[in-house]
């Protein structure tokens, strides 16, 4: 069901259908994929090609591009041209934002895994009826509006928010602790946003765990800790990798969370890119930044494919 969307598997049962397919219609059927492929091709793939082209053009003064080849966008990512003597100077501002975002994404992934794994395991070991409720309870935030969920966090950590009001009311502090528009706020928001993205793929992997193996391990005098580290965790590796990827990729490109909880002070890659298309009015630079982010995502996906190749898993 919904978790099917999480771990996408390459077409696997093709060989099966070769034998079985109702032959007369089989050839024509493939044409049925065309509408979807055309729509995604024109409005999904072509735009990606366009930003590749745009990243090698010159920015027009009021947004948009001028059709003139230039590699400035990529140079500007790391260097800035000195106004006076036209030399390139190393300016790591953007690089720092990328590294910060990477750090945010890594911390988010690790904490989500530490919280999500026990949760998913606990869910997978419930009786079936209870299990369905747990899955539904995790699935609801997964599909709930991210903007609204981020807003909920904002209401809690504002200066006059619930936490500060409570602490002041209890007399613990007399001035509100500033939490909103800090790195802490962004980190908290990312964790809150992506926790369900970790739990669901982990669950779908742990659900299929063969518990006889655990029994066997105990029979062989394994301790509880050994069972966890040497049986359960290795067996759920595909789920762990899928979950980490599903948290890491959107966290790295997060836009809404830093926009609302970072208040435009603490930027992440997502805001930086959007800025070039808004107030920055430097579309080629924005395109180059987007493609550099895409490259990072492709590296992550490469590791995923390398680690799961040969195994077919369905959500």
């Amino acid at each position: 069901m919904t978790t099917a969307a999480l771990s996408s598997a390459p077409p696997s049962k093709a060989a099966l259908f070769e034998a079985k397919a109702v032959k007369s219609s089989a050839r024509r059927n493939r044409l049925l994929s065309l509408p979807a492929l055309i729509i995604i091709g024109i409005f999904g793939v072509l735009p990606l090609i366009i930003i590749c082209v745009y990243s090698f053009l010159v920015a027009a003064p009021y947004g948009g591009v001028q059709w003139q080849f230039s590699t400035d966008a990529y140079l500007n990512f790391l260097f800035q041209r000195d106004i006076f003597d036209d030399t390139l100077q190393f300016t790591p501002d953007f690089l720092i934002i990328y590294l910060r975002s990477f750090l945010f994404a890594v911390v988010t992934t690790v904490i989500c895994l530490l919280l999500g794994f026990p949760t998913a395991y606990f869910m997978a070991t419930r009786p079936p009826a209870q299990r369905n409720w747990w899955v539904l309870l995790i699935t609801i935030p997964f599909w709930s509006n991210l903007l609204v969920r981020t807003l909920a966090i904002m209401f809690i950590i504002r200066d006059e928010g619930l936490i500060n009001n409570a602490l002041i009311g209890l007399g613990v502090i007399d001035k509100p602790i500033t939490m909103l528009y800090t790195n802490f706020a962004i980190q908290l928001g990312l964790l809150y946003a992506f926790l369900p993205f970790m739990v669901l793929p982990l669950y779908s992997s742990l659900e299929k765990l063969d518990f006889r193996l655990i029994e066997a391990a105990y029979d062989l005098y394994a301790t509880r800790r050994q069972v966890l580290w040497r049986v359960i965790i290795p067996l759920s590796k595909p789920g762990i990798i899928a979950g980490c990827l599903l948290v890491f990729i959107p966290a790295l490109g997060a836009y809404v969370t830093p926009l609302i909880l970072g208040g435009g002070i603490h930027l992440m890659i997502g805001d930086l890119i959007a800025q070039q298309f808004g107030s920055g009015r430097n579309w080629p630079l924005g395109c180059a930044q987007a493609l550099i982010l895409m490259a990072a995502v492709l590296v992550a996906l490469y590791f995923y494919v390398r680690n799961t190749s040969g195994k077919v898993q369905h959500g």
Binding site: V22, V148, E160, Y255
Partner: protein, 270 residues
């Protein structure tokens, strides 16, 4: 430290506590946001009493109407188009002999899931700016509908494909053996069995379109405010619990559609 055998072998110490903490972390902030939509005071953080007045304020608000109308036009159209495309594609990619490019086609369908939303957003923005500049084409709200359809297709596709793969093929063969034309076999056998998958896919497509903020914000032109954009505009002004009321409505729509999709899928599994 030898563990007593009587304990449940599946248990791991502390996991229950962490699971409950996760659930609380996920739900408490949202529940507080919902509760404050009933606040009779005009502050989003200071509780004064219970009222439904902010829902009334929202429903009488012209801007809210316009945003709700835009959202419904976009998400209903995107849901219908993407579900039809996804259904056709799922059939064209499962009920076939493997064709060259099948793996590539599968990647294309799933592309919107793999590309970070902000990249899709700026790419789509650049694309529409280009065709507006070169061909003078502007589809108005159609821009948003097309952008939404693209990322709705994979969400609709997944449950439909899963359903097709789980389906017992014997019925389809039986129909073919009894001289049903391929079209008749599809209409009388495959399609009725596929309906739960289609419903589930459509529900997911609707939610992702209804809730989308990032792509909508960058692609939307003037006057194309959707509900998430409306909320964003409100955040930047002094806030009243009206925003909690609207947020609660959005959450309720998500919960409704997730539950529907979930229940359909569960019934299938039984």
């Amino acid at each position: 430290m030898a563990e007593p055998r009587v304990m449940d072998i599946k248990d791991q110490p502390g996991f229950r506590t962490i699971a409950i903490i996760c659930l609380l972390v996920l739900y408490v902030p949202v529940l507080i946001l919902m509760i404050f939509s009933l606040n009779s005071g005009s502050l989003v953080t200071h509780w004064e009493g219970v009222t439904l007045g902010w829902y009334g304020t929202a429903f009488l608000n012209e801007e809210f109407h316009a945003a709700a109308r835009n959202t419904l036009i976009i998400s209903v159209t995107a849901t219908i188009v993407s579900t039809i495309c996804a259904t056709l594609a799922a059939i064209g990619m499962t009920r076939v002999k493997p064709w060259r490019g099948l793996a590539a086609a599968f990647m294309v369908i799933n592309l919107p899931l793999m590309v970070p939303e902000i990249i899709t957003a700026v790419a789509t923005l650049s694309f529409f700016a280009l065709i507006a500049g070169v061909f003078g084409l502007n589809f108005g709200i159609g821009n948003l509908i097309l952008a939404h359809t693209v990322f709705c297709i994979p969400f609709a596709y997944m449950p439909i494909r899963a359903r097709l793969e789980d389906m017992d093929l014997t019925l389809e063969y039986a129909a073919a053996d009894l001289y049903a034309t391929p079209w008749n076999a599809f209409r009388r056998i495959t399609l009725p069995l596929l309906v739960p998958g289609i419903m589930s896919g459509a529900a997911l497509a609707f939610i992702v379109s209804f809730d989308d903020f990032t792509i909508t914000q960058l692609v939307a032109g003037p006057g194309q405010t959707t509900l998430p954009l409306y909320i964003w505009n409100q955040i930047r002004r002094p806030m009243t619990p009206e925003i909690n009321a609207i947020s609660t409505i959005l959450l309720m729509v998500s919960i409704l559609f997730v539950s529907v999709s979930f229940l359909i899928a569960r019934r299938r599994a039984k």
